[in-house]
């Protein structure tokens, strides 16, 4: 017959079982917190990856990989650290996807009758995104968003990251610096330069 339930468990439960039950409750709490965090960032992360990669499936793969990596390697870290860690992992995934794409297009470029691909226009590490707006965006008819995406695509990778994380994702300078693995001063510099370029490109059309 089970003993009386207390606020934190059963009064007559052996200490080992009590500790194990407590651990399960902690684990459950962490899982709930992790689920809430991921639910809050998944769509925005997907759009960020989609803007950078111009491909829905690649963007989904990158976001899924980032979620798994965060859960597996950093799920035990304090939840306050998750945003910076998650977006750092996400951008690493984007960079890896662009590398793979770059290698693939080089290989196809060597084959007779195949073209190298439009996005192979330089070092993928220097340029997060390349190419024009994808068909899905055109169908949505959102010209302003397409212009923003095009303008962002022309920015160097670090400036683009700084603008996306600071402005679109709403992270503060310290979080952005942690996500970009650089100093806060660098974030400010990249963000300022990104704003300068976007101001030039967009002020006529917005």
């Amino acid at each position: 017959m089970p003993g009386p339930a207390t606020l934190h468990g059963h009064a007559d439960r052996p200490p080992v079982l009590e500790a194990r039950a407590s651990h399960r409750e902690d684990s459950l709490d962490t899982s709930v917190t992790l689920d809430r965090f991921l639910a809050g960032v998944e769509r925005r992360a997907f759009r960020i990856a989609q803007m950078a990669l111009h491909d829905r499936d690649d963007a989904l793969d990158v976001v899924q990989g980032a979620m798994f990596r965060l859960a597996r390697s950093y799920g035990g870290h304090p939840s306050e650290e998750w945003p910076a860690l998650f977006f750092r992992i996400l951008y690493n995934g984007i960079r890896d996807a662009q590398r793979r794409r770059s290698v693939r297009s080089r290989i196809f470029g060597l084959l007779p009758g195949k073209r190298g691909g439009d996005e192979d226009d330089g070092d993928p590490l220097e340029r997060i995104a390349g190419g024009g707006p994808e068909p899905d965006r055109q169908l949505m008819g959102d010209e302003a968003m397409q212009r923003l995406e095009s303008a962002l695509a022309e920015l160097p990778a670090r400036q683009q990251q700084a603008f996306v994380l600071r402005c679109l994702q709403g992270m503060d300078v310290a979080e952005t610096a942690s996500a970009m693995n650089c100093s806060e001063g660098s974030v400010k510099t990249h963000y300022f330069r990104a704003l300068q370029v976007l101001r030039e490109k967009l002020h006529e059309v917005w």
């Binding site: 684990s27 979620m67 798994f68 859960a71 597996r72 949505m140 679109l168 709403g170 976007l198």
Partner: protein, 134 residues
């Protein structure tokens, strides 16, 4: 003047960019949302399974280590204890301890503080006597 105008324009640009981005996030299709939810649930399940397996590995390891530690302490304690007592003082200490722990004197020890005073006086004298006879 230009700086102020640029700053105002930057704020408007930031606000507009945020609005557009938020709208594009809200406009995601159901299939993409569903795929993201599935990916999230799989990631959380992975987190739970890893935590559970880590716990299941640590408990037997901790129990085994505790048992081993207790076994070592029990095994070593009879050997270690007597030398520690002998080393702690002169030979009268052992005699005095025997008097204290002898079953007959337990009541006396517990009731009579005077016994301890007596022991303090007697023990050195006995030691001196033993020294003179030898």
């Amino acid at each position: 003047m230009n700086d102020r105008r640029d700053h105002a324009h930057d704020e408007a640009l930031e606000r507009r960019a945020r609005e557009l981005f938020d709208s594009s996030v809200d406009a995601l299709d159901a299939q993409t949302r569903s795929s993201l939810s599935r990916a999230r649930r799989a990631a959380v399940a992975e987190h739970e399974s890893r935590r559970r397996s880590a716990w299941q590995w640590w408990v037997p390891a901790a129990v085994a280590a505790s048992v081993a530690l207790v076994a070592v302490l029990v095994w070593r304690s009879p050997v270690d204890t007597p030398p520690a007592l002998v080393q702690s003082g002169p030979g009268d200490t052992v005699d005095a301890l025997e008097l204290v722990v002898a079953g007959d004197d337990l009541d006396l020890v517990s009731e009579e503080l005077a016994f301890y005073e007596w022991l303090d006086v007697v023990a050195p004298e006995e030691m001196a006597g033993q020294g003179s006879t030898t």
